[in-house]
């Protein structure tokens, strides 16, 4: 089988598998998020936490719970890393430096999983398992909880209640993420991913050097790393490391896992708003952008190669694993940058300007195709609101989406949402580029060096967490700046989304008539795609021109 055929088969198998899971997973999520019944285990948790599982919260209460939960998580994780040398299973690791602890704690709580450190030489097993892996579950669940509140804003009428955060969080973790991760961890183990409590092994290589290999509970963390679009690797090399991602099948499976919830949530949305066609429209936009991006990156990595070595290898193989090849690496790179996952099985820094630039652009889109668990859907719904607003005016009515009117209040929150991330990315990169010391952290000069900085802030603010590599980001300045970018990039949008949810829920729905803009047709799919591309394109075009474009158009 040649590479091209194998590549096509992988892509098609992936699309097929995602299509197959769309309905069952989406319906299941909708069911557990709307059910009135609690499991016995859940009731126990509510009793222990002093939560009334049947009492819905106002949007502000929901937000307060999200923020309180996340704050406690950051503090806990920070303390954990600072004190890890005093704890069990530290396998000899020292306490983590304050700025790195802050950066890492924020990174995992915000579902970003930006890593300024090498996991195998920094974190003990207990921190990995009880600290970081726990956040992999709950941070993913927080995203789904927030989008659930937003969907309830559309489905409910004349109420100030948008659901109960603690119930949503508990159900998503207990009924979705834990069981799925458990099964999938076993599948990964069966395919060669390691799962043990070994400390550092020193081995002698054939060349005569000595090499340190850290063992650990990898598979259990690997499944949720992908499923929850976290992306924080046990090892520095992330999914390029053979212990995390040993072969072509595990690679394919990891791509599937990091996409599956994101692509199934539109179904949940369609289900909950009582019109599955709305879900199809949203998933169509996500799918279109994803497919186009896969095509661009794969084409560039195969054909836009400038070096003789690249031509000999049949594609840009620098920074890619031989066992995956160009096709699978490109597929992984696109999927991980479009989902806010940020796991990598190859180094985006080494991609062709077209391919690498596309991975930046993917993140700049705001992680919406399909985006992070939950955050992707609420991101695209906010953009849909903006698209409906402009298009709705053009049909001569006060714009309305799913029966809810889009007036000053709704547009205010939607505008603030789309304003937040670009502001963080541009201001962050701007400051970094204005400081001589921070510029020196770049491994390359010229346009490529700038791309590294732009990538770092884009990745942090969009909660992606993948690194372009090349940038030495483990400095006090970068750890702090990127930590702040992650915090603001995660929680400010959540504030606006929940406020939007509250505002929508309080409305009396407008009946659908022939004069209502239909939001389930190909027309709307085209419109939303266009608005996303133009709004993002216009925002970042100057910055992209000085980075990837300058590099690529030489």
């Amino acid at each position: 089988m040649n590479d091209t055929l194998a590549g096509w088969l992988q892509v098609l198998a992936l699309i097929g598998a995602l299509a197959l899971s769309y309905r069952p997973l989406g319906d299941y999520l909708a069911r557990i998020l709307t059910s009135a019944k609690h499991l016995r285990a859940e009731r126990l948790i509510y009793r222990l936490g002093g939560v009334d599982g049947d009492a819905d919260q106002r949007w502000i209460g929901y937000l307060r719970s999200v923020l309180a939960f996340s704050l406690v998580s950051v503090l806990f994780l920070y303390g954990f890393m600072r004190l890890q040398n005093h704890l069990l299973l530290s396998i000899g690791m020292q306490a983590v430096a304050p700025d790195l602890s802050f950066n890492t704690a924020v990174s995992f709580v915000t579902n970003t999983n930006w890593q300024s450190y090498s996991g195998e030489s920094t974190m003990g097993h207990l921190v990995q398992m009880a600290g970081l892996a726990v956040q992999n579950f709950v941070s993913a669940a927080v995203g789904i909880a927030v989008v659930t509140a937003l969907i309830r804003g559309f489905t409910r009428k004349k109420t100030d209640r948008v659901g109960n955060f603690w119930v949503d969080l508990t159900r998503i973790v207990l009924r979705v993420l834990l069981p799925l991760s458990f099964v999938l961890a076993l599948v990964l183990v069966a395919n060669g991913v390691i799962e043990n409590f070994h400390a550092v092994h020193s081995i002698s290589t054939i060349a005569g050097d000595s090499q340190s290999l850290t063992g650990g509970p990898v598979a259990s963390q690997e499944a949720i790393k992908e499923l929850g679009t976290n992306g924080g690797g046990f090892y520095n090399a992330n999914s390029a490391h053979p212990f995390e991602n040993p072969n072509a099948f595990t690679n394919w499976l990891e791509i599937y896992l990091l996409l599956v919830i994101g692509f199934a949530l539109p179904r949940t949305f369609g289900r909950m708003v009582g019109d599955n066609r709305q879900g199809y429209a949203v998933v169509a936009v996500m799918g279109l952008i994803w497919a186009a991006s896969v095509a661009v990156v794969t084409f560039n990595e195969l054909h836009s190669v400038s070096s003789a070595a690249g031509h000999a290898a049949g594609g840009m193989m620098e920074g890619k694993e031989q066992r995956f090849g160009v096709w699978a690496s490109a597929l992984f790179a696109v999927s991980t940058t479009l989902t806010s996952c940020g796991a990598v099985d190859s180094f985006h820094d080494s991609y062709t300007p077209g391919g690498g630039g596309m991975t930046i652009f993917n993140m700049m889109l705001g992680e919406i195709a399909p985006g992070g668990t939950g955050s992707g859907l609420y991101g695209i719904l906010v953009l849909a609101i903006v698209a409906v607003f402009i298009a709705g005016l053009m049909v001569g009515r006060t714009p309305e989406y799913l029966g809810k009117k889009l007036r000053g209040r709704e547009i205010k929150f939607a505008s603030l949402y789309i304003l937040t991330t670009p502001a963080i990315v541009l201001v962050g990169s701007g400051i970094a580029m204005a400081l001589p010391g921070e510029r020196a952290a770049m491994a390359n000069h010229g346009a490529h060096g700038f791309s590294e900085v732009l990538y770092a802030f884009t990745s942090a603010a969009n909660n992606n967490g993948s690194a372009f590599a090349g940038l030495s980001a483990n400095t006090v300045w970068y750890n702090t700046a990127l930590g702040l970018a992650m915090l603001l990039g995660r929680f400010l949008p959540m504030v606006f989304v929940l406020a939007l949810a509250g505002s929508l829920a309080s409305q009396q729905p407008v009946p659908v008539t022939a004069g209502t803009l239909p939001t389930h047709r190909p027309q709307f799919v085209g419109l939303l795609t266009g608005v996303i591309l133009i709004v993002v394109g216009l925002t970042y075009f100057p910055a992209l021109a000085l980075g990837p474009l300058a590099e690529g158009l030489q």
Partner: protein
């Protein structure tokens, strides 16, 4: 349901509408001279305190100031060109607003001339029936609520109020532009008078219903001048979106400088400002307020006064239209539709008799019988005078019939026409037999919602029933198509009538309305409105009577007829000076057109940015990264000419679009999906392509300016 059809001011028959043709809501034309005359006002509006209300244009003005300072410090032709065109951009934006306001100002001037500074004759003590009155003279502006004034022929009514005594003919041309006088009388629904109008005959006592300074004319002046203009909810929402886009682009450009310095391509203030202005949505930002003013203005041109822009917007959102049957769906009166003879009588004979019997009948029904007989049944046109010995028998409430007695050659021919029971009884009394056949015809007509009039005649001896005239409500031509269009727009029509359900259903079916409310009382109407609103629908209605006032207030769009009571006018949020209920449909279309114009120009404005990037980005950075020259797909002459061309285009497009923003974009009633496709193609794609051409053309010209080579 009271619907007072006033005598002359354009009763529905006299304003023939032609809805059969594809119509379009149009606005007045823009006179190019208006651009020139409004220029001083546009410059005056550069006042920072005025500019700051429009964030997009405020940024432009600040940018213009920065470039001017920069041009003074480091003079160059390029800097001065950019500075000049940025100021022009701001002036053009103000110009659009000034032109839009200017049209209203002219109208306000006319109104102000009629505004009363008359002396009012205030009554000190008045009770109904009192004849000797003591009065004092006070300036009209000092009149308070509830004051009573007396107005006699030739005097100007000093304030808005209700006639509490007397009847008078009033010249309301100052407000409606209609010169024929109208009758105003105490009690009923024709009691409202407006300050500034003139009593032509008789004497009335008026109770003042408006506070000083808040009279109808005061409000009209404020409205057409735009002084009372507040931003509408939708305008606010759009402004928020535009402001946030402005912030995004500001950030994108401000942060660009460190990137540029790193790339050894530091940019001047002039270039950075030019980039910001090119990117922020100046086109829509400049025209937004003109679009809103022009929307109100389009209503004023149709003699509709909207009390707020909010009401105009709500009109575009309406889901349900409550339409009065009489005057809106049907002509005001029943008309003869056909003659149905009994067996043995020819239809011509029946028509002949019917015509004779109606010659002296001046009621609309009677006239319609004559018209039907001559036009449809080819009877010779006859006049009362040509019948030698004719004695006309007028209609009375007792006989319930009318007719004529003709004596020709000693033979008397008596023709009678009237209510079925009365005429058949007359025929039987005169020896005729009212056949059962007549009854079945009569029942058939009643069953279909029509009104039967039986015609009988007596020549010499026995009387004979000739047949039946079918009178029915005549649905206005084209109204059915109009309702079909409304349905396509997603608007439900409900006919309101005092008729019984049977009659109502027949007319509803013929007119093609979606629903009807028969035997409607004000309470029924109110309940209907509340029911629709509970389902999230917006309701529009017209009304004129005092008992309509609560429903008018409850409806989202309540259009009061100018002939109506002051209570009704106070309750509604629009007043139709022509008192033409059909206009409700036009009001809805104007509301929609207003929103569409905003959306279309927003789309156009954002789409424009793509071309501007392709002009400016290579101009800024091609020296540092020559590869970026590949983005210069327009092959613009030089970096300086490229940036200048983008800025000049940006300014000129505002002027070019002023007529469109005042006129509103073309609107044809159709489904939302069809409308969207059409507008995206025109304004989205057009907005993408047009600036490429425009900037290229401007570049071809400016490349000859020495400093821009």
């Amino acid at each position: 349901m009271h619907l007072t059809l006033v005598e002359p001011p354009s009763s529905p028959e006299e304003t023939p509408q032609t809805p059969q043709e594809p119509h379009r809501v149009s606005g007045g034309l823009l006179d190019p001279r208006q651009l020139i005359t409004s220029l001083p006002e546009a410059v005056r509006k550069l006042n920072p305190r005025v500019m700051v209300k429009n964030p997009v244009m405020f940024v432009v003005a600040v940018g213009a100031l920065l470039t001017t300072l920069s041009a003074i410090k480091d003079p160059s032709i390029f800097a001065w060109v950019i500075a000049a065109w940025l100021w022009l951009t701001a002036v053009f934006a103000n110009l659009s607003e000034a032109v839009a306001e200017g049209r209203g100002k002219a109208q306000a001037e006319t109104l102000r001339r009629t505004k009363t500074d008359t002396v009012a004759r205030r009554l000190l003590d008045w009770r109904p029936g009192l004849t000797t009155l003591s009065e004092e003279e006070v300036p009209a502006t000092r009149l308070q609520l509830e004051d009573l004034v007396v107005v006699e022929a030739g005097q100007i009514i000093p304030g808005d109020g209700d006639v509490v005594e007397g009847v008078a003919s009033v010249d309301e041309s100052a407000i409606t532009g209609e010169s024929a006088p109208v009758i105003r009388e105490s009690g009923g629904d024709r009691s409202a008078v407006t300050g500034g109008t003139k009593v032509l005959s008789d004497r009335i006592v008026v109770q003042i219903t408006s506070k000083p300074g808040e009279t109808f004319i005061d409000r009209m002046i404020a409205l057409v001048e735009g002084a009372a203009r507040q931003k509408t909810p939708n305008e606010i929402a759009l402004n928020i979106l535009l402001a946030s886009l402005t912030v995004v682009f500001l950030l994108a450009v401000v942060t660009l400088q460190p990137f540029a310095i790193y790339a050894h391509a530091e940019q001047t203030i002039v270039v950075l400002v030019a980039l910001v202005v090119a990117l922020i949505p100046t086109t829509i930002g400049a025209l937004l307020s003109a679009i809103g003013i022009a929307g109100m203005d389009r209503l004023v041109q149709r003699n509709v006064l909207a009390m707020s822009g909010r009401a105009v917007e709500a009109a575009g959102d309406v889901n349900t239209l409550l339409l009065d049957k009489t005057g809106t769906i049907t002509f005001g009166n029943r008309q003869a539709a056909e003659f149905l003879p009994v067996e043995g009588v020819s239809v011509e004979d029946l028509a002949d008799a019917a015509q004779l019997s109606s010659l002296a009948d001046e009621t609309p029904e009677g006239r319609s019988v004559v018209v039907l007989a001559t036009e449809k049944y080819g009877r010779r046109e006859r006049h009362q005078g040509e019948l030698g010995n004719a004695e006309f028998v007028p209609f009375t409430a007792q006989t319930r019939m009318s007719g004529v007695d003709l004596t020709e050659g000693g033979l008397t021919r008596r023709v009678r026409k009237g209510a079925a029971s009365a005429v058949t009884a007359w025929a039987e009394r005169n020896g005729g037999d009212a056949a059962g056949e007549v009854r079945s015809i009569v029942d058939g007509i009643s069953g279909s919602g029509g009104t039967p009039l039986v015609v009988a005649e007596r020549r010499g001896g026995r009387a004979k029933v000739l047949g039946v005239i079918h009178l029915k409500d005549v649905v206005k031509p084209g109204i059915r198509e109009r309702f079909a269009e409304l349905r396509k727009m997603g608007i439900k029509t409900v006919m309101i009538t005092g008729d019984n359900p049977l009659t109502a259903r027949a007319i509803a079916e013929e007119a093609g309305v979606d629903d009807f409310l028969a035997e409607a009382t004000p309470e029924d109407k109110m309940a209907l409105i509340k029911r629709e609103q509970a389902g999230g629908k917006l309701v529009a209605m017209t009304g004129d009577g005092t008992n309509d006032a609560p429903a008018l207030a409850q409806a989202d769009v309540g259009v009061a007829m100018n002939t109506g009571t002051s209570a009704a006018k106070e309750a509604g949020n629009m007043v139709d000076l022509d008192s033409n209920p059909t206009k409700l449909i036009e009001i809805v279309e104007i509301g929609k057109q207003l929103l569409i114009t905003r959306g279309a120009l927003t789309t156009f404005s954002i789409a424009n940015d793509v071309a501007k990037y392709f002009a400016i980005i290579p101009a800024m950075f091609a020296t540092a990264y020559p590869g970026l020259n590949k983005l210069n797909i327009m092959h613009l002459h030089s970096p300086l000419s490229a940036i200048s061309s983008a800025i000049i285009f940006n300014a000129l497009i505002i002027v070019a679009l002023i007529p469109l923003s005042l006129r509103g974009v073309r609107y044809r009633p159709s489904s939302a999906a069809a409308l969207l496709s059409r507008n995206i193609w025109i304004y989205g794609l057009g907005g993408l392509v047009l600036p490429f051409l425009g900037i290229k053309l401007i570049d071809l010209a400016v490349q000859f300016i020495p400093g821009l080579r």
